[in-house]
Symmetry: C3
Subunit: 309 residues, 3 copies
Amino acid sequence: MTKLGRHLLSIDDLDRASIERILDRAESFDEVSGREIKKVPVLRGRTIVNLFYESSTRTSSSFELAAKRLSADVVSVRSQGSSVDKGESLKDTVQTLSAYDPAAIVIRSPHAGAAGLVAGWTPAAVINAGDGKHEHPTQALLDVFTLRRRLGSLDDACIWIVGDVLHSRVARSNILAFTRMGATVTVCGPPTLIPRDIEALGCEATTTLDCLEEADVVYVLRLQQERMRDSFVPSLREYAARYQITSARLRPGQLLMHPGPVNRGVELSGEAIDSAQALIGAQVRAGVAVRMAVLYELLVGVPILAAAA
Amino acid sequence: MTKLGRHLLSIDDLDRASIERILDRAESFDEVSGREIKKVPVLRGRTIVNLFYESSTRTSSSFELAAKRLSADVVSVRSQGSSVDKGESLKDTVQTLSAYDPAAIVIRSPHAGAAGLVAGWTPAAVINAGDGKHEHPTQALLDVFTLRRRLGSLDDACIWIVGDVLHSRVARSNILAFTRMGATVTVCGPPTLIPRDIEALGCEATTTLDCLEEADVVYVLRLQQERMRDSFVPSLREYAARYQITSARLRPGQLLMHPGPVNRGVELSGEAIDSAQALIGAQVRAGVAVRMAVLYELLVGVPILAAAA
Amino acid sequence: MTKLGRHLLSIDDLDRASIERILDRAESFDEVSGREIKKVPVLRGRTIVNLFYESSTRTSSSFELAAKRLSADVVSVRSQGSSVDKGESLKDTVQTLSAYDPAAIVIRSPHAGAAGLVAGWTPAAVINAGDGKHEHPTQALLDVFTLRRRLGSLDDACIWIVGDVLHSRVARSNILAFTRMGATVTVCGPPTLIPRDIEALGCEATTTLDCLEEADVVYVLRLQQERMRDSFVPSLREYAARYQITSARLRPGQLLMHPGPVNRGVELSGEAIDSAQALIGAQVRAGVAVRMAVLYELLVGVPILAAAA
C-alpha cells in the first residue's frame, strides 16, 4: 500500500497512487462540505497551527476551515501583530509553536525552501502552503482534483499554463502534478517570464498563444503588478494585449482555471472569469476538501485505511 | 405569517412585524447569553464568513460571538493581511468565499451599497454590517431592542439623534427603524452635517439643542475626527461647546445612547457616559442577542416557527 | 484553604500556597496537553476575551490555546484592525467587551498598571498578560512550574537574571515569584539597565558575569533593540561581548531559561539556545498548562476543590 511521508512539502513527495488516494479521500470530504452540518470529529482536540508570513485570503481561510470541519483547534499566527515583527527567527518561532504539540504546522513563507527547513525543526507534520517561488503542493492537488472530476482522468489531457511562470510556485507544483497524472503540459508567457530550463520539469514552452487551441485546459497564472516595475513586462497594457485570456481567445469546450486572486482585466478578462468555461469557484471549493484530505492522510490516514481494508 | 427575505441589507427590508419577531427571538437568545453555558447547537457545523473591510471591534466581535454561541464555525477575513490587499475585487473575493458554501456572509465595507452587491454574487444569506454612509441595520435593531426593553414600546417616544447625521449610516438605519416602531425622530447637528433632504426619511431636523428637553431618548452619534480636517466643523472645541451632550444638558429621566466607539469629551462628556442614564453597555450586550436572532431568523427561522405554531 | 482573589494582576496577589496550588493544577492540565485529544469541557460555553495592545505570538497564542483546550469560546481583540485604532479609550473598550459577559479578560498593554485599571472596570476576572514594565505574572508562574519540575523544589536554588532588568516586567514578576518559592535571586546587567532600588525586591545585584558559576539557573532577558538607540547600551556588539550568555560561559549542569522571543546572537548565542541546558521549549509548553490552571482556578477553582476535599 502506498504511504504518504510525514510531511507534504512538494509534489515530488507524492507518487501517482498517493495523489489518487488523497483525491479519493477528498471526494468523501467534499460530500461532508455539501451537508448542512459540515463537520466530522476525526481531529477533535488536536491542534493545527497556521503560520503565515505572507498575506493570504483563500489559502489561509481554506486551511482554517478544513481544520475546523475536521473538529481540530486552530491557532493562526501571522507576521503582522506577532513576535515575528520583533525579528524572531523562523527556527525559534517554529520551536516555540512546536511546544504546543500541534498535530500539524501549515507554513506559508516568501522564502523558497522554508517549509523544508520547518520540517527539520518540529515533530509536527508540516504542510507547505507556499514557499517563495518553490512550491505550493495543495494548490496543485486541488487543481488535479477539480480536473479529474471534470474530465474523469488527466491522462493525455493537454494543459497550457499561461503567464508569469518564472515567479510562480503554482506553475512549478502544477507542472509536476499534471504530468505525474498523465497530462502533457505547455507553459506560455513572455520570454522574460519563462525560466530557461523549464523543459527539465517535463513540459514544453512557447512565447505566443498561437497554438492555444490545442489546449483542453487553459491554466492562467496571476501577474504580480510589481513585475512591471521590475521591467519583466513593458506595461500591463501590452502584457494584456499579448497574453490576456479572453473569451474570444478561448475555443468552445476549453476549460479555464486560475489559482486566484485574479487581476481582472490583466491576465484574464472579466467576461472570461464569469464564463461557464471557468472552474475558478470549483477550484476554491475543492481546496477545502483537498486540505481536509491532506490533513487526514498525514495525521490519521494509514491505520484507518488498514482497518477498512 | 411575516417572512424575512433571504438577506438583511437595510431596515427597509423589514416591516414592523418582522422587527418585532426578531426582537422576540433576541429576548430568548439574551437569556442564553446570561447563562453560564452561553451556547446552543442550532447552527452547529454551519459556516459563517465575516468579511470586514473596515476596522471594527464591537461589530466584528459581536457577530463572531453571536455565531459561536450558535455553535457555527466562523471564518474572519479582514482587509489587512488578506488578498484584499492584493487588489482582488470585492466580487471575486465574495465568489471565492461563497465556494466554501457558507450559510451567511457578514459584510462591512466603506462603500455604500456594497452589501447589496454582495447579495447578488452569492447564494449565502448576506447581512449588512455597515456599508459606507448607507445603512447599518443590525445596529438599529439592537437599539430598538434596548429601547423596547426599557420603555415597553417605542410608540410615541420622542427620540433625538444628535451629531454628524450626514456621514452616519447609523443615523439612516435608526431613523427608519425608530419611526417604523412608532417613535418620532428629530435629528440635530451643525447645518454642515445635516443632509438637506433628511425630512424625507420621516423625521424633523434642527441645528440647536434648544428643545432637547422634549426628547425621551438622546441618541448621540460619533464625530469622526477627520470631519474637522475636512472643514465640516470649525474645531472640536467649538463642536463640543455647541453639541456635546453633558449631564448638565440632559434632563432627569432622559435616556442616553451611543453606537460606540465614543470620543470621550467630544460628542459626549465622560460624566454623561458613566451616568445611570446611559444605555451604552446595554446596547453592546443587546448586539450579541440581536445578531444571534438575525442569523437564526435568516438561516433557520421559518420552518422552526411553523413547527412551533 | 488558600483562595485566589478574583483577578491575577501581580505575583504579589499570590502567596506560596496559592502558587503551589496553581502549579499542581497545571501538572494535571499538562497531562491533558500530552493526550491526543487535548481538550476538557470545563469552560464549555464560557467566553474568554483576549485584549492585546502589543504584538505577541507566544503569550496570545498560549492563552488562546489554553482557553480552547478548556472548551471556552475565545474572542481576540488586537489594537490593529480594531476600534482601538479609532482612539477609543481603554475604559470604553473594556466596558464594551464586558457587555458580552465574559468569564475572563486577558489584557496585554504597554502601560504599567493597565491590568489593575481594567479590573476596576469589569465584573470579569482579569488576567495580566503583561502591562508595560510592571508585571507579567503568568510568565513567572510558568517559569516556576518549569523549574519545580526540573529541580523538585526552588528552595535554596540560586537564580541569576541577566540582561535588561530595568525595562523588564518579566524580571519584576520573576524576582517576586522565585524568592517567594525559596530561591535566592541575583540580577546582572549593565549599570544603565539595573534599577537603583532593585534590592528592595529581595534580590542581589551585580554588573558583571564574574560570579555566574554560582548560579544553578541562568535566566536571560530579551534585549530590545531600541535600547541601543536610546543609549542604554553603547552597541549590540559591546553588549554581547560583556553579557551574552554563550555555551562557554555556562558551566555544566547550569540550566538556561529565556522568556522569548530570543534575539539570537545578542543576549544568547545560537549554540546556547540549542544546547541541552536550555529549557526554552519546556517553558513554552508549560505556558499552556499554567494558563489553563490560572483560568481554571479563577473561574471554577474553589467549589470543585471543596467538592474534592
